[in-house]
Assembly symmetry: D3
Homo-oligomer: 245 residues x 6
């Protein structure tokens, strides 16, 4: 039924390569099937102007795609001299998602800058970016804790994201590009391990969908993210184990 | 309870001034309380490059705010030389909402450009813009039909939008600025008169919300948009009546 | 003779809606016939860098047009990423006109930012903008005086502007768009109530004009602005009256 | 009285070096005292889009200043990424001035691009630029005529510009920088040899001036431009003579 | 002597991962030690305007660095809205280097766009980019040949690049970041397998160097590139072998 | 053999007009045949941010070309809103060349900004710019010394630049435009009077060149710059002489 042969509620192969980048305070190469995103977390001693003197920190994100991450080459945003509306939407979304689980007061007047760069795309880049950024952010905080800059890792919950959609009339989980470009509806859910909703973005691509259809998409997303949370924990535990040695 | 004294499920005073602009093919000044948005629909004989030769038309939207629409003056985007991420998000949303109820094939290779300009803001500018743009678009199509350019008004349904949010723990309808800037969660629903969902954007502003809370917000939105659809119909009927004379 | 049927020395219907915007320190919606401009005055506690430490204040202006203010839709300057030469010329003119009647020392190191946004255009937008901005600026100063920030309204004179032109060989006052787009010459006069000239911009649109023709245009402008000064005073008096109640 | 010791109605030393640039179709280095401007006229076989198919030609102008043309170094506009409002005002003025004496139909669908680059500035750069550009344009037309592209030099009149101002209460001709930066009023007149007015831009720098003062400035400008017209004719005649040999 | 312990004439560990990107017509992830660059070659059916109708093709290149490729995070060029001078220098260099060994007539009116994106940097990114791009370009041509678009791989020679420098008074090969940032002189050589010089860029970082020192750097570069050419051939042969299976 | 009839090792006519600009701290109009470049040196009391508090000064350069400096008119960079890659490459090169002979510590926390503006171009603009800028910089330092701001002219050596190339198979010195646009190879050498190399940029324009050919180009460059150094000294001595009187 699905072009990839997956079951309706089946994720793609998911992989987290923690510590992919040797310079960043935290990093993760995340793979959702053929969608590969490098996520780095960089510690910046300066907060944005609106937080100066507040005692609070900030987490922000930037997003980009290599020109040939996609099936046909896209223009390089740096060469065009501006970021597209789509890029700005996604990077704002990533920042909000991470801030929702971060205790900004606990980090003091510091800023964590997340960079999500898609080196290969096959649908679902924003959900992979959020899910991998959580790990990069966690690792950055772990390093800060190891260095004594903070006492606890200031994350109140895990956050992950997944897309669901209506494809040929059926609700399916984790759309790849062939599905995404033909879906009747497309929804991105940013959820937490404790069962919270952080962000929902659902869009009818062809015609309006119904309330029960939306409920079905949400249910799939809960199933998918519960698996992602499990994998995040495993990847972080393995990284911690490796570091001890 | 609410700063304005409204009931939890009560809209602000809504007003549609159809034909506000003497030049545009369709126009409407929409007021959601103290939020005032001028919506115009301009017919353009050229479609974007990706539709050339397709026989299909397009509806697109641009959004702006006068610098002093807000409590404190904001920078003029034209002077800064770029539109903010927020502006781009909103104008992409308006375009998608209107295209969801438009039969793009029926209008042929023509484009309708919607401009939504906020002349005074008090929260909910994007929902007012969508709701008023539907009227501007309808009037543009009515003029095209009167001129024989199309046979039917190519709208398959009515579309309107409303915000709901969690304010001091309660679900409330149609947030004004004092509520919006303190809400725990903020959701914008773009719904149709026949009961479809076109777009949902829900965001936790402080901490994650729950599935039942989300359901409550959706229920309020259904109530609010059913009133908006009624008012849209009345405004369009009055305009048609006035034109006959 | 004139497309509108007006006499050669007759202004369009002029209207000032003082306090149009609920947020701005001073505001006025000005109408010169079908040309409608929202003028707001915003108090900014910071002066531009070249005045820091000078003890002097500043008045500056920005100008914009909604894309569909005009007969055919113009591109949105914010979307294009830059303001046109015409926009910059006009906003510099408005600033100079207002500064010519303002005692900048009396306001201390503060800045008043004027925004003139054309929501509908039918010729003469810059003259309407100057004439309406005087009122917005006055109201801003009145508020500052009421709040004790200044002792007197620091305006040494009234300022207003009007266009005159040679249309089908005749000198006419207050050109509307059909006249403006066919005039042989076009002149904008910024004059004061005490009889001073603040700015003259006269341009031959087709061929050069003569000294006596120029003198005729100036004479018409004196007649038109004397009426505008009267109307400004009446509008401000009515606003003051209304406020007392 | 004047810092330079000149009489009130005395021009600075004026010099025209015709054919200064070896590549341009027409060129002139113009000197108004220490203000030096390179003016070139470049023939372009393409007209702007709005004239395609009209059979008419166009004359347009661009203006720039070398960063160290001025007493203190100014920022390079190319490095800042945009032209200032002042630059745009001036280049629009130059274009209008030249078009007012050019028969655009006679040149066919071709465009002459004028570049005015100030290599040293001491006040009056725009008036020098207009006066010198007339010569560059004339030489471009002379070359086109020599090559058989046009039958006559399509100039209906000579055009020149001069500034006048009120300096320490007196009307003076051709302001240099020390006068310009302290003048009470500053007016630029673009006039023709046959006695026409093409453009007037008068600005009160401190307080409003009077109608008789304005008349005095105009009278000085007529005196100054009559001398400039004489010098333009002499320079063009000398260049023609030299070319014959 | 060298921070890495390498001999003066020793390259870092070099690795080519051919076909790294699943979408591009040709691709290679190249590693010069900790410097990792993704190189892709994208076939574009359109040539730049200056080649239209010439029958000739073109090879061009773009270069970018992920913000956290470096030790401290750099600003994202897409967010700043322009590419730095350094970026532009490098991408122009890559394009020239590849065109020097490509028979542009043989590919007809097509363009190959090379993208070099540095995902981790430790000195020598431009030399790694050129060396890896040669492979990406070769693979793109191999695919075009397999598809019958060209008859032969239109490369007349192999091209590779390496940096040499004076570090603590000694000439060393293939500078890494600790060396690069302290070198007295830095030279990049783009050489061909047949012994040609394509490009030399040598810069004194502290004080001028001498002719014999320059000769020593060139000699080291010849040694280094002869090894790189060998590795390029091996990587391409292995990729061809793998493809057959 | 050469289009100009020059011998292979013959420079064009070289001229330095020291003190060309009346405002700049140092200036020189340099002519390499028909290539004319205005070089100015402007003293700025502020260093770039990365040097604040370092006690060191800086020398930087900007480069531009008038639109009609060239055979056919080029676009104005200020109007396009960005500097080309070529412009940025050249201005970075000029800055590095001058810093290589300047004792930055000796000037304290001050910055010299060099502007090189090409008013007419016939090949070799960057080499003329470097050679003339050395004089402008020297004159700026001489003025600073005369004013007591520095004790010695902080230049450790003279710097000059010249291009050499392979033209119709022969190595030639100081390419003009007809040679430059047809050369097989083009090399720019920045050399010092004491025999140092500061920068080498050699590029194969058609096919790769050989090591002996490169050596021949370098030898020509040494011959050419030795003449330039002589002329620089003579021009500076004449300027010093003139100033004494």
């Amino acid at each position: 039924m699905r072009p990839s042969g997956r079951a309706a509620n089946q994720l793609r192969n998911i992989e987290f390569i923690v510590g992919f980048n040797r310079h960043a305070e935290g990093s993760c190469l995340v793979k959702f099937g053929d969608t590969h995103v490098i996520c780095t977390a960089s510690l910046d001693e300066k907060v944005p102007p609106f937080l100066k003197g507040s005692g609070k920190g900030w987490v922000t994100a930037e997003y980009g795609m290599l020109p040939r991450a996609t099936h046909t080459r896209g223009d390089r945003e740096a060469a065009k001299g501006k970021q597209s509306g789509r890029t700005q939407e996604i990077q704002r979304l990533i920042g909000r998602a991470l801030r929702a689980v971060t205790d900004l007061k606990a980090i003091g007047e510091k800023q964590i800058k997340i960079d999500c760069d898609v080196i290969q795309a096959d649908g679902g880049t924003r959900t992979a970016a959020i899910t991998g950024s959580y790990i990069a952010l966690h690792e950055c905080f772990r390093l800060m804790k190891d260095l004594g800059a903070i006492k606890q890792i200031p994350l109140s919950d895990q956050v992950a994201a997944i897309s669901c959609g209506l494809y040929e009339g059926h609700a399916v989980l984790d759309l790849d590009y062939p599905e995404d470009s033909n879906a009747e509806a497309d929804a991105n859910f940013v959820l937490t391990a404790k069962g919270g909703m952080v962000e929902v973005q659902a869009t009818a691509e062809k015609e309006a969908f119904t309330d029960p259809q939306f409920a079905e998409l949400l249910s799939l997303a809960r199933k998918g993210t519960s698996e992602l949370f499990e994998m995040q924990r495993a990847a972080l535990a393995a990284a911690a184990e490796k570091k001890k040695k």
